[in-house]
């Protein structure tokens, strides 16, 4: 056993001592300099009755103090005005906090964009100040990360080699282990920026407890082993800089985009390429205007066939990116298979509908719930005809309130208030305002729809 282990270790040390790009002696110096590109961010999500703290690591991307943060690190289902008190900290924590402004989420990439309230503090350096490079399989890299706030955001450095560089379709670098926090930069042996750490991958493990065997999936939220390559990072960044955050969003009006697998592609006679099924073409959308139909299969975009990607599921975000990087008013050409036919469509990109975080909300403190306006996405989920897509959705219900006791739940669609059909969202607000203001009100009746079934909510207010 010992012998096997030593052979293995010899082998391992052999691989670690590849001559090409050994790590420099001054690694700590390189790392400490580069830690200044990282901002430890804290913010608060203020909800109806409580507050929640959030945190992330962001990367400084320019001299103006712009900072980018990974998509999942800041909630996108809450209205932007509920996100408050963004502060940035240095690694390690210097005792000073720097106010950040949340600019919004870039629609195409999903990245959050923030900016230092005043100019870029001296303690930070944009990533653009460093060289950038491309790495491939086997190359030596190091990354800088930081401990939690309790440990003073102390920076650390970890090294690894690129196990795999894979196009998905963005070029992603995969390392053997997590090397730093998601949102932190990765550098090559010379200190050039090579990648931005994305959300950690999950690893499947088999756990045996007594006689039971369990398949578990493990994910360390603080250390990621997968990074977006620097080339793609800057491509996305260029797109973000060239577009207006919170501006209009490119949209063609289809929902349920499902990739096909290679076997289906072969059956459809499009070997070596792929396709996306458009499950539903929405009424009055750019796609329906040119005649796209439900279940059309897109096989080419702007003259180029859709590539076969692995996993198959990465095709959908790729296709969405092809649309989203365009601006409303531009056109997109789609080649489509419908039944046995092939068809070409040229669609004028439209403006996307409101997203949940942009919806209008109102909290009724006395009644104990929040409503928000009905959105197109609600209509699609509920299989509602376009002319019925209106009214108010319950977005929050106060615990143990009269309405909760009566059965009101988050997500309910309010159809009637006090026996009156709701109609528009504004009308719902008017009616609810009146109920909220009525001090004498003892009983409050709502009709709500949930799972295609309606039921009455009879709340005793007194």
């Amino acid at each position: 056993m010992r012998r096997v282990l030593s052979i293995f270790l010899t082998f391992l040390s052999g691989t670690l001592l590849l001559p090409a790009d050994t790590l420099p002696d001054n690694l700590s110096e390189l790392a400490m300099e580069r830690r200044q590109t990282i901002v430890a961010i804290e913010f608060v999500l203020e909800r109806e009755l409580d507050r929640q703290e959030g945190g992330a690591f962001g990367l400084v991307v320019d001299q103006d103090g712009t900072v980018v943060v990974l998509p999942s690190r800041i909630p996108v289902w809450e209205p932007v005005e509920k996100l408050k008190d963004f502060y940035g900290y240095t690694l390690p924590y210097s005792g000073e906090r720097h106010r950040l402004e949340y600019l919004g989420e870039d629609y195409a990439s999903g990245w959050h964009v923030l900016k230092f309230k005043n100019e870029l503090p001296e303690a930070f350096i944009p990533i653009t100040q460093f060289d950038r490079a491309t790495v491939g399989m086997g190359d030596q890299v190091f990354a800088v990360g930081a401990l939690t706030k309790d440990f003073g955001f102390d920076p650390y450095v970890m090294t690894s080699r690129v196990a795999l560089a894979k196009r998905m379709p963005d070029l992603q670098l995969i390392f053997r282990d997590g090397i730093a926090n998601p949102g932190c930069p990765v550098f090559n042996a010379k200190g050039a920026f090579v990648g931005w750490l994305l959300e950690p991958l999950a690893f499947n493990q088999i756990m045996k407890v007594g006689r039971d065997t369990m398949n578990i999936s493990l994910r360390n939220p603080d250390e990621s082993s997968v990074a977006l390559s620097s080339k793609e990072f800057f491509d996305y960044l260029d797109h973000i800089k060239g577009s207006e955050i919170n501006g209009s969003r490119a949209w063609i009006g289809v929902s349920g985009m499902q990739p096909i697998d290679p076997e289906v592609a072969k059956y459809l006679g499009i070997e070596k390429q792929s396709g996306i099924v458009l499950s539903e073409v929405l009424e009055d959308s750019p796609a329906s205007a040119v005649g796209l139909e439900d279940n059309d299969i897109v096989i080419g975009v702007d003259g180029k066939p859709l590539p076969q990607l692995k996993p198959d599921s990465s095709l959908t975000p790729f296709f969405q990116w092809l649309i989203r990087r365009k601006a409303p008013g531009e056109t997109i050409a789609l080649e489509v298979i419908r039944g046995e036919e092939r068809k070409q469509f040229s669609i004028e990109i439209g403006e996307g509908p409101k997203m949940v975080r942009e919806a209008d909300y109102r909290f009724y403190e006395k009644l104990g719930f929040t409503v928000r306006e009905f959105l197109l996405s609600d209509g699609i989920r509920r299989r509602v005809e376009k002319d019925q897509m209106q009214g108010a959705i319950v977005n929050f219900v106060k615990r143990s309130s009269a309405v909760e006791t009566a059965g009101l739940r988050r997500g309910d669609w309010i159809r009637q208030i006090e026996g009156e059909p709701v109609g528009s969202y504004d009308k719902a607000l008017q009616m609810l305002d009146a109920v909220e203001a009525d001090e004498e009100k003892a009983e409050f009746v709502l009709l709500v729809e949930r799972n295609n079934e309606t039921s009455f909510i009879r709340a005793q207010l007194k």
Binding site: E263, V277, S279, T454
Partner: protein
């Protein structure tokens, strides 16, 4: 689906499933009932109670599998008819064994079932009985309408496999209402009747056995209980059971009318809606694309009258009988509802459809490792599916073609080789021809309202 209903089910883990109860078929001929007896009554009843062992099939998990179960029943005619629960013997039953009071076993067959009331009618193999010289007695029904809380009752059956167990208690409530429905293997039950509640101990295996008076008259069929609770048992009233029995003696299923209205109690809303107390029934929900929806009836409407007769749905206990009134009209009847909506009273004409289960026929396709259930009209409407043509995947067998293609339980198969599938028969035809040399099949599936495409490789 309704929030309150879900809550109800969480609270209660039923021994068996619940039942509903109403019937439409006009009582054709009274089941033979001998006059009530006294001491001998109970003895006779005990001799009429049977144990039922069932082997039935299930189509979960991508294949046809056998499961076995066991329950109770009561012989109700000299011809060997046995009344039991639909959740004891369903139309999935393949082999039924009846154990008589003499401990002799005979074969039984299912004549019909009515999952809406959780009742099933069996018949013993009379030839076998004659050949073997076996005899039996049959029990008599009592009047479940004249029961009173506190009245002593007995439950007879096979709890946990303990054959011929008699437990004793009282009627705890004569008119118990459960909101919404539970399921008999996915089949709806419990819309049409209220229940007898008893504290006579009822445990798993009692299902289908009789609840009787002290002199042995059947006043209910024990159907469910709260597990873990102390003696909260529920029985289908004999009145309901007798009507279903009479119906199933004639045909395999009970035909009911359906309009698609879910009622809610008016209680406490009279002032709100400006109606008199004890007037009107509240429309809580209208099923999408149902006759009532098509006629324009809306949630929040108050049904004041049906065919000129005033309706009273003030309390929850009054709602099942109202649903029953609608169900009892012949299918296709045009019903006139007087509806109160925002002050005025309007008339709505609704033509009834036949009540159908949301559960369609099930089948397993061995070569594909796929089990499916036909999409029914009710299922399609409830889920706002565009078409009623399709098959809900109940399960896929690991490493079989449907699994390898990527299909999953919950998918709805809509097309094969670009053609819609009308019937299970068509699907069987395609399966029969599928072999090692077949061309791959191009399968179109709806999953969460999104279209996925798969190839079934031989």
């Amino acid at each position: 689906m309704n929030p309150k209903r879900a809550g109800m089910l969480l609270l209660s883990v039923f021994i068996a499933l619940m039942l509903g109860g109403c019937v439409t078929t006009p009582p054709v001929e009274e089941v033979e009932v001998d006059g009530p007896t006294s001491d001998q009554g109970l003895q006779r009843l005990l001799e009429a109670v049977v144990r039922i062992d069932v082997r039935e099939v299930t189509f979960r998990g991508g294949s046809k599998q056998n499961i076995t179960g066991q329950g109770s029943g009561v012989i109700v005619s000299a011809e060997g008819h046995i009344l039991t629960n639909a959740h004891v013997v369903s139309n999935f039953a393949e082999e039924i064994r009846i154990t008589l009071a003499s401990l002799e076993r005979v074969k039984g067959e299912l004549l019909g079932w009515d999952h809406w009331t959780d009742l099933a009618l069996l018949k013993m193999d009379m030839e076998e009985l004659t050949e073997r010289g076996l005899t039996f007695t049959h029990a008599a029904f009592g009047d479940s309408d004249t029961l009173y809380p506190g009245q002593p009752v007995l439950a007879v059956g096979t709890p946990n496999g303990l054959t011929r167990t008699v437990t004793r208690g009282i009627i705890s409530n004569t008119n118990r209402f459960f909101e919404g429905a539970d399921h008999v293997r996915g089949y709806e039950t419990g819309y049409f009747n209220t229940w007898l509640q008893t504290d006579a101990a009822i445990n798993p295996g009692n299902s289908g056995g009789p609840l009787v008076t002290e002199n042995g008259e059947i006043i209910g069929i024990n159907t469910r209980a709260y597990l873990g609770a102390n003696n909260l048992g529920f029985a289908v009233p004999a009145k309901t059971a007798q009507l279903v029995l009479a119906g199933l003696m004639q045909t395999e299923e009970i035909v009911r009318s359906y309009v698609g209205i879910v009622l809610g109690p008016m209680q406490d809303l009279e002032t709100f809606y400006n109606v008199e107390a004890n007037e009107g029934a509240l429309v809580e929900s209208v099923d999408p694309r149902s006759p009532a929806a098509n006629a324009g009836i809306l949630p929040g409407d108050i049904l004041i009258s049906l065919e000129g007769t005033r309706l009273d749905g003030r309390f929850p206990e009054q709602l099942p009988p109202l649903q029953n009134i609608i169900a009892n009209y012949p299918v296709g009847t045009e019903l006139t509802f007087g509806v109160k909506r925002q002050g005025g009273i309007e008339e709505f004409k609704v033509t009834t459809e036949q009540l159908e289960s949301r559960v369609g026929e099930e089948w397993a396709f061995d070569k594909w490792g796929l089990s499916v259930r036909e999409v029914s009209r009710a299922y399609a409407r409830e889920n706002k599916l565009e078409s009623e043509d399709g098959f809900l995947v109940l399960g896929v067998k690991i490493a079989f073609p449907s699994d390898r293609a990527g299909m999953r339980a919950g998918d709805i198969v809509t097309k094969i080789n670009r053609k819609s599938l009308g019937s299970l028969e068509e699907l069987r035809g395609i399966h029969d021809e599928f072999d090692d040399d077949s061309d791959p099949l191009f399968v179109e599936v709806t999953r969460n309202y999104q279209t996925s495409l798969f190839i079934l490789q031989p």
